[in-house]
């Protein structure tokens, strides 16, 4: 842990400011998206799956701010409801890999030896499978839908946390405060929980921000391939896929769901960057 002091008060303030600006802008962006997702039924009186076959593919009007799609569904409504699906699954999908990877990395880095070797060989095997290839294979096994997505992300995603935490533990276990804790006769489980974990988990938390972006990208990509959340549920990936056919007349139908993903990714990256600057000081 670095306890380096910055040379001048002014610089400290400025650094804090920029870190906080990134962090808070990110939180505001994600907060707004979450608000839209939660309040979708209040913000729109349209049914996201309700068809209106007399008003298909109409251009934006006062009643349909982003027009309607090929089945007459309100595009804006579907985008707002899509936020629910994509954000929820995106966040849920990293919870399990976070816990599993952090735990394995912690034990693996601390104990070393045979356990470490075994875990690292499993890591080697896992990273050999390109994520989307693994995901498609799993869809074959368990069927398309959120279950397959979460399973695929979990099976592949824990590896990153495991490596990050393991590397941090390898450094931390040689530090004085850990030696001191050992010498004072604390049980290993307590040292790991109270002394090592709080110091190594920051890296994992920071990574989890970009990991949520990656998992949302996975949901969108699998949705596009028709292997994700089944239609007609409003989901950004399947909206992109369905909109592709009408791109010349209604370019915004596939474009705006993608922009939503970019905004989400931008917000999460800002939070991640802000955390890096604050936690690594």
């Amino acid at each position: 842990m670095r306890t380096q002091r910055f040379p001048g008060k002014g610089i400290v303030k400025r650094l804090n400011f920029s870190a906080n600006t990134a962090l808070y802008s990110g939180i505001i962006i994600i907060g707004l998206l979450a608000l839209i997702a939660i309040a979708a039924p209040l913000l729109s009186h349209y049914d996201p799956t309700g068809q209106d076959l007399e008003n298909t593919l109409i251009a934006p009007t006062r009643h349909h701010l982003l027009g309607t799609d090929q089945l007459g569904r309100d595009v804006l409504t579907r985008i707002m409801y899509g936020a629910r699906i994509d954000l929820t699954i995106g966040i849920l999908a990293v919870v399990f890999p976070f816990i599993l990877g952090t735990t394995l990395g912690l034990i693996s880095g601390w104990r070393g030896g045979l356990f470490d070797t075994l875990v690292m060989r499993i890591v080697d095997t896992t990273i050999a499978f390109p994520f989307y290839v693994m995901a498609i294979a799993l869809v074959f096994v368990v069927g398309a839908g959120p279950k397959a997505i979460i399973l695929a992300i979990s099976l592949v995603g824990w590896v990153a946390y495991c490596r990050i935490v393991r590397a941090a533990v390898l450094v931390a276990k040689e530090l004085d405060y850990v030696h001191a804790a050992k010498l004072s006769g604390l049980p290993t489980s307590r040292i790991l929980r109270k002394h090592v974990l709080p110091n190594v988990i920051t890296q994992a938390i920071i990574f989890s921000m970009s990991d949520i972006v990656l998992s949302i990208l996975a949901i969108v990509s699998l949705g596009y391939l028709g292997l994700g959340v089944p239609i007609p549920t409003a989901e950004w990936g399947s909206m992109i896929q369905e909109g592709q056919a009408y791109i010349l007349q209604q370019w915004w139908i596939p474009t705006i769901p993608g922009v939503m993903v970019v905004i989400t990714g931008f917000g999460l990256s800002l939070i991640g960057d802000g955390l890096v600057k604050r936690l690594n000081k």
Partner: protein
């Protein structure tokens, strides 16, 4: 001698991964809940067909025997036979391979053309405005779904300005190049955020190395130090960074080929899902995993050959 020793050591490290891959892919069929034959056949299940599938998969035999027979076939280069059209999976993959290779190499080349200059630009003056600007690129780029990048490229360069075909693979080499340009660009744009970050970090490390300091101390100009010392070494860094991200690259081709309706290896797998063509799913999975392991190994060996310090 050192290099050979390193190569040998690195090769031995690959073996456990290969073993792991074979186990995972083998277990795919056993992970199917219930009777895989029912899942594979779906509505078409009859007693005779279920029995035939059981025999084909060999799942009436003990698990270990099944695994060794699977491994034996694998060593003979056999990935099984497609249920749907009775063709060897390996020859189906071979037929789709050239499109996948076009996408992979196109993606790599374009990704480097985008990332290297930006990384050099950013690293050449850390903290300057150009560095700040370049650092924003990955933040925005990382959130762009590749399917979406592909569609926007189709809209811009395929439909608004008729520069490139928007689907298919063409028949001649030149047509292949033209048809795979936009998909490769989508892959490259998706890959660039990661590359820019890693390359910028690598470049900053090189800039702090002693030999760069020496070169500067000798009074060699900034530009020359940059070009002859830093950029040359950054090529080595690129090889490693690409090696690490090869799985991501391969995964991207699977997604992007779908957007542009290019009949490459990924589509083979995706189509096999609706046809419940189990050997194809298994075969393509193992094929891609082998590609990743091989490229990783090659990248490390090239790295060691270019930079003798690695093998020390």
């Amino acid at each position: 001698m050192n290099f050979l020793f390193y190569a040998g050591k690195r090769f031995l490290q690959v073996l456990p991964a290969l073993f792991g891959i074979s186990v995972v892919v083998f277990l795919l069929v056993h992970a199917i809940p219930g009777d895989p034959a029912d899942v594979i056949l779906g509505q078409r299940a009859t007693d005779a067909r279920v029995k035939a599938i059981h025999h084909l998969l060999g799942i009436d035999r003990p698990l270990l025997i099944q695994y060794f027979s699977f491994l034996g076939h694998l060593f003979q280069g056999s990935l099984g036979v497609s249920f749907y059209n009775n063709t060897a999976v390996s020859s189906l993959i071979a037929g789709r391979l050239s499109a996948t290779l076009f996408l992979m190499f196109g993606g790599i080349i374009l990704a480097l053309l985008i990332s290297l200059p930006l990384a050099i630009l950013a690293a050449s003056k850390e903290g300057a405005i150009r560095d700040q600007v370049v650092r924003v690129v990955p933040i925005i780029g990382l959130g762009m779904p590749q399917v979406w990048i592909g569609i926007e490229l189709i809209l811009l360069f395929g439909l608004k300005i008729h520069l490139f075909p928007v689907s298919g693979f063409g028949d001649t080499f030149l047509q292949h190049l033209r048809s795979t340009f936009l998909p490769s660009l989508s892959i490259a744009i998706g890959l660039s955020p990661i590359l820019i970050r890693s390359l910028r970090a690598a470049m900053l490390e090189i800039l702090e190395a002693d030999f760069v300091l020496t070169a500067k101390a000798k009074g060699i100009g900034r530009t020359r130090v940059m070009l002859s010392h830093v950029v040359r070494n950054s090529i080595i860094a690129s090889v490693t960074v690409l090696g690490v991200n090869i799985a991501y690259l391969v995964g991207s081709t699977v997604i992007v080929e779908r957007v542009f309706a290019i009949p490459a290896t990924g589509s083979l797998m995706i189509d096999a899902i609706s046809q419940r063509d189990y050997p194809i799913v298994q075969g393509v999975t193992i094929f891609f995993a082998l590609v990743v392991v091989t490229v990783n190994l090659l990248a490390d060996l090239i790295h060691a050959a270019l930079d003798p310090r690695v093998a020390l």
